[in-house]
Amino acid sequence: MSRKLSISAREFESEAIAQLSALLGVASRLTRNPADAQDLVQDTLLKAMRARDQFEAGTNMRAWLLRILTNTFINRYRRGGLERSVLDGPDADPLADGWISASTMESMRDPESQALRPMLEKEIKRILDELPEEFRLAVVLSDVEELSYKEIADIMGCPIGTVMSRLHRGRRLLKGRLYEHARALGIVGPEALVGDKSEKPEPVIDLSQYREKRVARS
């Protein structure tokens, strides 16, 4: 009796090695520790190797591996699942809601690199690591791995609408913190409100408040 595999061990090894960088990137942002990230990737690939006959040929191997990686992370490091979103308050985006002007937004970008200004970019990793896990994972899977909403929903085990909400909230927090940082660095000046003052929402939700709420609820 031989195993009926859709992919041989050698083929799997070759494909898995090709995904190492992507897996390590996501694992590093989940664990926030290089040694844990390497262990997580190794555990993931061994589990995937043993379950490779369940991989459907022709589908996205990277997305499949990332689903196993996420589950392994949740099981090993987060018994209660990912941090739940308990953010209350208005779901406001300072950019979409029009209380940051176009010129301020423009001054946060580097016109040559199409990225953020270097002084802001170097803060991204720190700010990203401060996001609640479920927001951070959604942002990394979308912006770094460039997976579709459907693929992210499969990995995170939630509806597409929840993915969109987590992405939006994660990016909103990122942008809010970057804007605060840009102001602290003097990259942008105090913002003159654009439009009707009544449109200005509450300040972007403070992560420390979120953590306190989380602790209080647990």
Partner: protein, 276 residues
């Protein structure tokens, strides 16, 4: 912010992610022709996207030696699988050769051999091929789990609060999975020897049928190599049948859970996926 912006701004994120329906994308594109502010929102979103990608990738380079470490681990796993297949094939071949009349005496002889080997070959085992020794161990472990499941030994502990008293012997935390959602009633627990380790044996009844859930140190009780991997609700479980008893195993944070029952493999896999 114009009323038009108010309608378009919430769509910009999905537009940038190329997830917007075609008609909505067209609407956004038409708006962007005249609206510099929304254009700037798009450009800042893209800048954030580029910077996040760059920051994440540069923060986690594949360190020298890591690729080799992974390749070696995967090759070792492939070799283990090949060894399992070889043994399974050999066993299947033997079982095809044996008529039912010859099975009983041969099994009796094998049992005697095992008893003899168990009493004399501790020293020899050290010189065996390690792969073969591990396979034998996995087989023996499964047999032991079935034996314990079939035995009618009374429970040592019947109060959930006292379950933790068994932890020193078992070596892992013992939390009682309720399984009430499946109609299971917990009857009590024992500590049972499995190979040279100890496992907690939690006994349940479900509709008059007995179910045993073993909890153990998964790094020291490796049974999954002789079971078949499958995924249940995103959980990885390993399932197989021995002597009419379905064994389903899973692992969580170094704690192994193996469930023995006379359910079919689908049912026992479902059940074990719900134990933690």
């Amino acid at each position: 912010m114009t009323s038009s912006c108010r309608q378009i701004a919430p769509l910009l994120e999905a537009f940038g992610d190329e997830e917007l329906a075609a008609d909505k994308s067209l609407e956004v594109e038409q708006h962007l022709v005249d609206c510099n502010t929304c254009g700037e929102r798009i450009r800042l979103n893209q800048a954030l996207h580029v910077s996040v990608r760059s920051a994440v990738r540069s923060a986690a380079p594949v360190m020298p030696g890591f690729e080799e470490r992974i390749a070696a681990a995967l090759r070792a796993e492939a070799q283990r699988e090949e060894a399992v297949d070889t043994v399974v094939e050999r066993e299947a071949h033997h079982s095809r050769m044996l008529s039912w009349r010859s099975v009983v005496p041969v099994a009796a002889a094998a049992a005697l051999t095992l008893v003899w080997a168990g009493s004399t070959s501790k020293h020899q085992a050290r010189t065996e091929d390690p792969t073969h020794a591990r396979l034998s161990t996995a087989d023996q472990l499964l047999e032991q789990l079935v034996d314990h499941h079939m035995s009618a030994r009374g429970p040592q502990v019947t109060e959930p609060a006292l379950l933790r008293q068994l932890e020193p012997e078992v070596g892992v935390p013992l939390n009682l999975p309720s399984l009430k959602a499946y109609g299971a009633r917990w009857e009590g627990a024992n500590v049972v020897p499995v190979s040279n380790q100890h496992a907690a044996s939690l006994r349940y009844t479900m509709g008059g049928r007995h179910v045993t859930l073993y909890v153990y140190n998964s790094t020291r009780v490796p049974i999954e190599s002789r079971l078949k991997a499958r995924t249940v609700r995103n959980e990885h479980v390993y399932v197989g049948t021995r002597r009419g008893v379905s064994i389903a195993a899973t692992e969580h944070r170094g704690v192994g859970y193996a469930l023995a029952s006379d359910f079919n493999d689908d049912e026992s896999a479902e059940l074990v996926a719900a134990v933690y």
